[in-house]
Symmetry: D2
Subunit: 336 residues, 4 copies
């Protein structure tokens, strides 16, 4: 049984606590949060867990084997590295850390000490994204041309980060998981409301060597909640609408064929269209976060790299850094 200490019981912490408690092989041994009212809630819901106001104290406890970090981004590196140094396995809320350099340092520390370091890229553990991965890997979509993602709603403004660092990690983690090829350059544009100091809307474009294009729209100031992804392949295309109660993934037998033609004089491509059936595969409906805690538990037991480990966490943060740099440089394309 891996005894887990959770740091941070704000927005996401309660979900992590519940899933840790319900994952066989894990037990929720302690929770740390500086706010007494949050610890009251912990005491009511998880009477077996020790309640602490000091994260350092939690990290130092001998009856803790693993630490889960669900605190603001700026604290990730310090808490994770201190935990690793206390020989605890670590699961960190996305994004892994504030810079790619920090991510790499954490990865090296974990590797040196033989500990499990994992980042909570939740969407990678959804039935929808898993299904999309299988479809792409099986070649069902054919050569991929683009991925377009929209993740917008009237969201909570964060004081210590802009919408890119808040929402885009979800999409970047999905792209990182689905697309074998790695991006070569990133550009971004955004805007902040008058009187505010952080972008509340941003567009990120990821360029790939083979012509594939990934584009993200993230927005804290939208009147409607949209969570939609399109992936276009030359054979088939798919949509992923996370707001649909069922049939989240739809595969369209639509595509285009290009025939260079033999008529030299017309030098004209013949474009032919296919528009066939659509189907929506049945998806695994289990809670994604349960997959996260289960993977953390198993990776520890099997002493192996988790599916979303330091490498994936670093790649996502590297794109975030580049997007941030592009935002500060008039949308210039930043090479990775």
């Amino acid at each position: 049984m891996t005894r887990v200490g959770l740091i941070g019981f704000g927005y996401w912490g309660p979900n992590l606590a519940r899933n840790i408690a319900e994952t066989p092989g894990l037990s929720l041994a302690a929770v740390a949060d500086a706010r007494p009212d949050r610890l009251d809630v912990v005491a009511r819901r998880h009477p077996g867990a020790a309640c602490l106001t000091d994260a350092r104290e939690l990290i130092a406890r001998a009856d803790i084997d693993a630490v889960v970090v669900a605190t603001p981004l700026t604290t990730h590196f310090a808490l994770a590295s201190e935990s690793l140094e206390h020989d605890k396995h670590v699961l960190v809320e996305k994004p892994l850390a504030s810079t790619a350099a920090e991510c790499e340092a954490l990865g090296q520390l974990a590797a040196k000490r033989g500990l499990c370091l994992m980042v909570d890229h939740t969407f990678v553990y959804t039935g929808a994204v898993r299904k999309m991965k299988r479809l792409i890997d099986a070649g069902e979509l054919g050569a991929l041309l683009y991925l377009d993602s929209v993740r917008i709603n009237l969201g909570l403004f964060q004081h210590d980060s802009n919408v890119v660092w808040d929402l885009a990690p979800h999409d970047l983690a999905i792209v990182d998981y689905l697309i074998e090829e790695r991006p070569t350059a990133v550009s971004a544009s955004g805007s902040m409301p008058a009187g505010y100091h952080q972008e509340s809307i941003a567009y990120i474009t990821m360029h790939f060597g083979n012509g594939f294009l990934a584009h993200l729209h993230v927005n804290w100031l939208a009147p409607v909640k949209i969570r939609q992804m399109l992936i276009g392949g030359l054979q088939k295309m798919l949509t992923y609408d996370d707001m649909e109660p069922s049939e989240k993934v739809r595969v369209y037998d639509k595509g285009v064929d290009f025939d260079p033609g033999d008529d030299e004089k017309r030098r004209q491509l013949l474009v032919s269209y296919r528009a066939g059936d659509m189907y929506a595969p049945q998806l695994d409906r289990r809670e994604a976060l349960n997959g996260v805690t289960a993977e953390f538990c198993q990776a520890i037991q099997e002493r192996r790299e988790p599916l979303t480990g330091a490498a994936a966490g670093t790649r996502v943060v590297r794109v975030l850094e580049a997007a941030e740099r592009s935002l500060r440089n008039e949308g210039r394309r930043i090479q990775l």
Copy 2:
């Protein structure tokens, strides 16, 4: 009665012909198309119109007062300028011409000869866009922060232009009509399928001096048809979904207020959210193209500039040119 000659009876021409025929004050006197099978259709539907295979012959006819140009983009300038030189009023399919310089030349020629020159920015004549204009002008949305438009579907690949020149004119015309301020710079990214020579997907970002941002996603290779626009203001926000059979425009009483706060030490903004009712105003449901032909007719009669004249047509093409240049320069931001 203004006697109209129509050049081009392909995809859009038949709609123009029908609306010309049904507009009081206009009559469809002649149609020119090089393809005999298209003229057969003309003869069946519009028995009163002369059928010609030669556009020049149509332009030269004395019994024609106005010419409507519904041919591929590369021919717009030549046909429109020749028509003006024959003292015909001219209505041109969007976009007005291939370059801003051509647009300006056409505008000057029309002004010199006292003729009406109009571009068919159809969406400007929809009940939905008209309603949005009134809402924005009345200040109901408050200070505008962004406009986001998605115009995608499995569309017909054009051999002589990319998706930017094909689809974006619609959105640029809407932005030009709705937003008083003019863009100062444009950037664009896109991708073309392997084996094809034109972008089939593109993203265009328009930057404005006051921080406002407009972003367009145009795509010929999408599995679903989406025609959705979001406009975010600090007071209210709206959505415009052209695929909705009714309630195309929805106004959300949602917004964010920023209070700088008086606590110097915390240096923290207080963000407060409003989430009130939504309403969908009743819209004028008349066919937009009918508004186009009616405006052409009235502008001729009243010897005035049409709502979408050479100035608007030039501004739209100037953005298209900049987007094209950005596409060829790694998405660099092009100053206007």
Copy 3:
């Protein structure tokens, strides 16, 4: 070439006129309507057709081979029988006539004179309904349990008929076409707004010998337009949403299996559920009314019974009569 005379140029007549004109093998020779302003429209759109104010005159013309009746229901029988007596083939707007007895009389008259008598059950000619028919006939849904149809909107109140006679013929024609078995009894309930003399909302239930149930909701006073049908089979189920721009028909691999079980004492059924993929077959998108006029033309040429002839028209009216009787008798179940 079959020369067609059309009687009635109101709401549906113009659509019939257009499709007659565009169907090879048919020509629109004359149109009769008592209202001069409607004939003005005819003259503009169909300059080749004679315009008459008197339907009898049209029926009597020697240069007419077939008559299409698009007038109010109460006139169907007289116009259709007079046309047949003048040896004209006849296509009648739905429903065929006001009573099943009238329908049968028309059928006998047409048979005796060797003429084609057809009723315009438009939906039977849609790609969606055709596809559903093929799926059902192929046994893909398994044993059918129910059909549920909702056809509601803010509709035009008819002075001479209630919502049952106005809207339900569409659904009854679809049921008649899709379901091999015939209904054995009908019941109906409805309501009329205070101050009005016709039901504006009604529910019709059709009972079948094998336990199958068909239920229709028709409504002129609904705030939203819904055109949705569900068909439940034990193997699969489908939905047909006519308001969807594409994917109108969706087939769900969902169902229930009943296992009587072997445990006599518990006497309990084991119910197991299947919830698999959904798919939306590609549909023929041609205009349904074009299929109607084409079938009329071919049935005349081939001297055969049309797909929706007197028999289908009579069956539909028989259910309408029974529903009307049930409405007048407190919803009593009327045997057919």
Copy 4:
């Protein structure tokens, strides 16, 4: 503090337990369920609650002030009456009991002993239904013509009851709450799959003295989940779509006016249509079940009748009984 004992920890029990635990003024003192594995879950989630396998034992405990019954319908009467006889306040899962006579007996017993008896008509406590009630009471819809409700999905077949007793109580409770007038008669039709002994689909029509009509469609064997209600008034109409994540209630400024006209000869009504704006009021989004447990707590404290007490529970069961009788009598209209 009212100490609550919960009987039944199956599908709905866990939700009740959670809300009891989180309602100030209530504490979850004990849970009874015959299945040890369910009690294991209770022990993990509610460590403070006593776990019992015998409901009678729970009812008899002196440290329990109130009993919540979340067991199959057939046990409601026995458990509720025994609880009342032990001087416990009682909250019963819907429907209150198997017959109206049982409901009345429970009501009388509670009244005699001065105890609170409440039925969990959950939907009455939703923000959506509360808002609809306010709109109707304020006369915003004008004279009501109909209420149409569809509550369908691929649902769990119940062995001891048909779909009417399982799903319709929700809608009947809403109708009972929204509509001041009481139904005078009920009719119902349904069907059961071959090999099964309970209706899996049913239609219920409620007739009212003033011409108002309420119609329910309940279905366990539908491929899609629909939870939609329409309410038509002569002034305005509304839709209530419980599957919408937001904007569940939409109010349409649509209606019809009937003008008897002054032209005696034409004896024709003039019908005029209004089609104005639609709006979606902001709704209270608190969990409905929390409103249920809060109302139970307050009614006990204030020694008053709860909003959904014995009277409402009896009225709902009376309609269920009538619907059942109609189902067994060929859909005959049963007077209430």
